[in-house]
């Protein structure tokens, strides 16, 4: 990620053109990320703006990074969570419980284009829907964003081992859809050779 590091350093050094590069390279990514948590476009736009305001305000104190997107994601999720939780609080009765509960990651807020998908794809999508919200979020970071386990842990506040366990459970569930249950096949074989 040498390019990221260079761009980041330029920005830290006072170059506003670098800021505009960073903005244009990440604005749509952040929007899509925001849509996983809410379909309130205005809220998402406001949060993106806050993230960049934050960058500008903390510019002289910023450390190095080799993955700008990741840094923005962390900042964005934190701020979005605060807003969503605050909104929840306005509507709920048990406010303390709501503040503790993390925000929900979901693919459902987006329009799902399912016309003409194969049976296999439909089965996979159903299995995906059965995964826990946390599992889906982790897999999103792992595959869609390409983040490392360390980065995934930071974003989801999970310990390394928990994260890995969740990934393996989720992938097993998805694999089962495609490859069938290993046990039952063996059973069939045993039966045949009787």
């Amino acid at each position: 990620m040498k390019k990221d590091e260079k761009l980041w350093n330029e920005f830290r050094g006072g170059c506003n053109a670098a800021l505009s590069h960073i903005y244009y390279q990440n604005v749509q990514k952040l929007y899509r990320y925001g849509r996983k948590f809410t379909d309130n476009d205005e809220l998402i736009k406001d949060t993106i703006q806050e993230v960049f305001f934050h960058l500008i305000e903390t510019r002289p104190r910023l450390g190095r990074t080799d993955n700008i997107s990741y840094y923005l994601y962390v900042c964005f999720r934190r701020k979005l969570a605060l807003h969503i939780k605050a909104n929840r609080q306005l509507k709920s009765i048990d406010s303390e419980k709501d503040m503790e509960q993390d925000i929900d990651f979901s693919f459902e807020h987006e329009l799902v284009q399912e016309e003409g998908s194969s049976e296999k794809k439909q089965k996979l999508n159903k299995a995906l829907a059965k995964l826990t919200l946390k599992q889906r979020e982790i897999l999103y970071y792992k595959y869609t964003c390409g983040f490392s386990y360390e980065q995934i842990c930071e974003l989801t506040s999970l310990k390394y081992d928990s994260a890995r366990t969740q990934v393996s459970r989720a992938l097993s569930a998805l694999k089962r859809v495609l490859m069938g249950d290993g046990v039952s096949i063996n059973f069939l074989t045993i039966f045949r050779f009787r």
């Binding site: 800021l19 590069h21 792992k142």
Partner: protein, 401 residues
């Protein structure tokens, strides 16, 4: 590149392999993953299963509309002015002490027809016939001596004592001092497929794009900082008491301290000046006219000067920073049609394109091209995204559906 044929991968190994996932989701292939599909049926099945799972995580196509993106940027940009940073200058190899003002100008105009107000020997310096199809960039000193520059993106600097440095080595020229006379200019010729960076001695930088020429000198002892440009360049201008003017045949761009890109090619009818930061004045320079046509630009605005009738129009340019992406060695385009992308490739690689009108205008593509790639590599990638076939023959690219 790994020998893919011999190693076998299980589904689990593939699911944990970052490079494989990158290939599935973006098509970028460092290790020839598609070779695995030619292997035995078990391996093929593993690859397909892993791929089907990973494809579940293709990102959505949702996007914020251009207007929203632009207005969000405006707010952010305003904020940079509200927060006055204590100039903590982080200096590293190439970008030491960037001051607030960065000016990006790409200017284009006829070289030979340039006429300066004061008597000077500028015209004599720049012969109109210069072969831009050469392999390397080169410098032409006032004495007429040619100095060839290696490297795809060479860097020229003017050292403190007015000496010329090429890629950090001082040019030692015993026969001719580089700046003998006051009006001596050095001309940098950048051929197609190359770029160069010039560090002027006021701290300003100029990235010169392919197929362009820049004439510059030491600014010491001069009242105005002037450079001459034919083609396209990005200027990063340091603010000081002396005005900085970029001269092309038809248009002078005076820098008031900003970041902007000007594009003016001699074979096009328009000269474009796109501003990213600060302010510039774009003025048509014709001695005959009584009323000078001068306009001031604000950030993310673009001035288009029509050579045919001398008018200047101002437009909004929300994707302004896309114009300057090439200084990184890449060309970014955002929702452009093929004709626009081909135009840039034509410029950079010096080839012509033949394609049907329908194909050129029908789709919008966005993406980023690495300018270190060869024309073939770039077209290979584009043809997959935009779905066309092509054939290169004698510097002409024939494109069909």
């Amino acid at each position: 590149m790994l020998e893919m044929k011999s190693k076998k991968y299980t589904v689990d190994e593939l699911l944990e392999n970052k490079d494989f996932a990158l290939w599935v989701l973006t098509g970028k292939c460092e290790n020839n993953w598609h070779e695995l599909l030619k292997s035995d049926s078990k391996q093929r099945e593993a690859v397909e299963n892993a791929r089907d799972i990973i494809q579940l995580f293709e990102d959505s196509k949702l996007e914020l509309e251009g207007e929203a993106v632009y207005s969000l940027w405006e707010n952010i940009h305003t904020h940079t002015h509200q927060i006055k940073p204590k100039t903590k200058v982080i200096s590293w190899q190439k970008f030491s002490g960037w001051a607030a003002a960065v000016l990006l100008i790409a200017m284009v105009g006829y070289w030979g027809l340039f006429v300066h107000d004061e008597a000077s020997s500028y015209q004599a310096q720049f012969s109109h016939e210069i072969n831009l199809d050469t392999e390397r960039a080169h410098l032409i000193l006032a004495s007429g001596k040619h100095i060839w520059l290696d490297k795809t993106r060479p860097e020229i600097s003017i050292a403190a004592n007015n000496q010329l440095k090429i890629n950090d080595q001082i040019l030692f020229d015993s026969d001719h001092a580089v700046w003998k006379h006051e009006n001596d200019l050095v001309q940098l010729v950048v051929p197609f497929g190359k770029q160069a960076l010039v560090n002027l001695n006021d701290g300003s930088k100029v990235w010169v794009n392919a197929g362009s020429r820049l004439a510059f000198s030491s600014f010491k002892g001069k009242e105005v900082r002037e450079v001459y440009l034919l083609g396209e360049a990005c200027f990063d201008v340091r603010k000081n008491e002396k005005r900085f003017v970029v001269k092309t045949e038809e248009v002078d761009v005076t820098v008031h301290g900003t970041f902007f890109n000007v594009s003016a090619f001699s074979d096009e009818d328009e000269i474009e000046t796109t501003l990213l930061e600060g302010s510039v004045a774009v003025k048509e320079r014709k001695n005959i006219r009584v009323f000078e046509n001068e306009i001031m630009l604000k950030p993310y605005e673009k001035a288009v000067f029509q050579k045919t009738d001398g008018t200047i129009e101002v437009e909004k340019a929300p994707n302004a920073n896309e114009y300057t992406a090439w200084i990184d060695g890449s060309f970014t385009f955002f929702k452009e049609d093929l004709s626009e992308v081909f135009k840039q490739l034509k410029r950079y690689y010096n080839v012509d394109f033949v394609a049907s009108e329908a194909l050129l205008n029908e789709q919008e593509i966005s993406g980023k091209l690495d300018l270190n790639s060869s024309l073939d590599e770039v077209l290979e990638m584009l043809s997959e995204i935009a779905e066309f076939n092509y054939k290169i023959q004698d510097k002409v690219v024939y494109v069909e559906q």
